[in-house]
Symmetry: C2
Subunit: 289 residues, 2 copies
């Protein structure tokens, strides 16, 4: 008769695996048991704490809807999402960073040089860059899917005043791998904090802020898609992104531009642009499949 003890439970768990279990499933489940059991033993978790943890997971399920996946947010604020990004990154390519829950699929195609901000007001930003491979060759025709917050700090799916494609668009790089658009400066914002994730942030004395950023998904035939974010180097939350998304190569200076450099050929934006106008140069480097 097997007597399960705190000493042999992980080994007992592994001993239960069927002979024909997929080796990768075995590896993942054995490691999960090792770390879950280690967590319980290291903390000497009490029954009350265990019950409270399960209640928190139950609440995470209850607050999750098709528009709001609190499990993803939980993974984000625990650093899990970012760690998955980092260990799957290739140092020769642009770092990936969290997708987040606000991406809209089937965003409208936009012409190079389009004015992404439409009727919204704010500090105008000109964004330009090249999509390249790890050898420095440009990738013509790459798809550059961009999204960001409106000036109120909300993404389109969070905001009744925006239509769903607001501040979302897909550019196609030209034959030189070049893309460009104008927009307004994205703003720092808070992750939803009215659920279990907010409770965790609160209990650990953490704020819910993320530094402002532009989201990118860059993809091209024959390359691994890159999901990433680009941060300005002057954001006050750069050092303490609540979802751990900041990487050194994703922090870009917003270069001040002389007034009167717009209108410029190839851009939709026209009319007087005042001195607060700035420019981001961001090249994305993709890995061959």
């Amino acid at each position: 008769m097997r007597s399960v003890t705190a000493e042999n439970i992980t080994e007992t768990f592994i001993g239960y695996f069927g002979k024909d279990t997929d080796p990768r499933v075995k590896e993942i489940m054995a490691s999960l048991a090792h770390h879950l059991h280690g967590f319980i033993k290291d903390t000497k978790l009490t029954h009350d704490e265990w019950r409270e943890s399960l209640e928190l997971l139950k609440w995470t399920g209850e607050i999750t809807t098709p528009e709001r996946n609190e499990f993803v947010l939980l993974s984000d604020v625990l650093g899990v999402s970012s760690l998955v990004d980092m260990i799957n990154s290739n140092p020769a390519a642009t770092s990936s960073s969290v997708l987040g829950p606000f991406h809209v699929t089937d965003a409208p195609p936009m012409a190079l040089g389009a004015d992404f901000k439409r009727h919204y007001e704010g500090e105008v930003i000109l964004v330009e860059g090249y999509i390249k491979d790890t050898d420095g060759n440009v990738i013509p025709g790459a798809s550059v899917d961009i999204w960001q917050t409106a000036p109120n700090g909300l993404y389109s799916s969070q905001d009744d005043e925006q239509d769903i494609n607001s501040f979302h668009g897909v550019f196609t790089a030209d034959e030189n791998g070049y893309y460009s658009f104008t927009t307004i400066r994205p703003v720092s914002y808070t992750v939803p904090s009215d659920g279990p994730v907010g409770k965790i942030l609160d209990a650990t004395g953490r704020h819910p802020w993320r530094p402002s950023h532009l989201h990118y998904i860059v993809s091209a035939e024959g390359y691994r898609s890159l999901v990433t974010e680009v941060f300005p180097n002057d954001d006050p939350y750069l050092d303490q992104d609540t979802v751990f998304g900041v990487r050194e190569d994703l922090v870009i200076s917003y270069k001040p531009q002389a007034a009167g450099t717009f209108p410029k050929e190839g851009f939709e934006l026209s009319g007087k642009v005042d001195s607060a106008f700035s420019k981001i140069d961001f090249d994305a480097i993709l890995i061959k499949k």
Copy 2:
């Protein structure tokens, strides 16, 4: 500017804690991050595997109802519930074992010697024992809350043919700490396997069976309540309980009794009892608060 890396993310996470954070919360969350991050790094979890894990948690939330908490079941089959029981056990007392999801609160009080099985048929079992403290002194008046499966392998809350209090009852030990009742042999049964837990069991080649058992909650003023289970030593699933509930001191032999030893004074059961009649002696030892 902080660049978060796979090497410093756990330390960064811990660095985010507020100064006034409760030390126990800090300890638990730091250990959780250490083990979660360790799991991701040790397995080099891919984006697809991470997404699949989050989908599994989302499904766990979706299938959870007031009557079925799949998060508890997940904790059970991963060995977490049993490990929490074990590390909070005192070796001088009776081992605790999983509560499970089928306990009915406010079960009816029953007189000592009551016939728990009512109209159900099966192998008759006489259960007797004493409730004691860790010094061997009896605890008069202790409450002994018992529940078990019906012969069809179902608990009352799973079975339309049983009323909610079927195979549930609360006995009060007498002045000698003695309790007794008759019932029928509980049966081995399967945990619900039509949800994410079933998917995990299936993927790892595990069966959903639990060895048969009687559930106990024993409580008395001034003592820590004991939640436990008592298993017969001849159950085929004793070595492979899918929720890891079996402990050496909870495995009891069902002693065959001579036919004709019933009717007996102090017991409700009367009439001829055939030779399959057996007896369990189970004493529960409680810890002073």
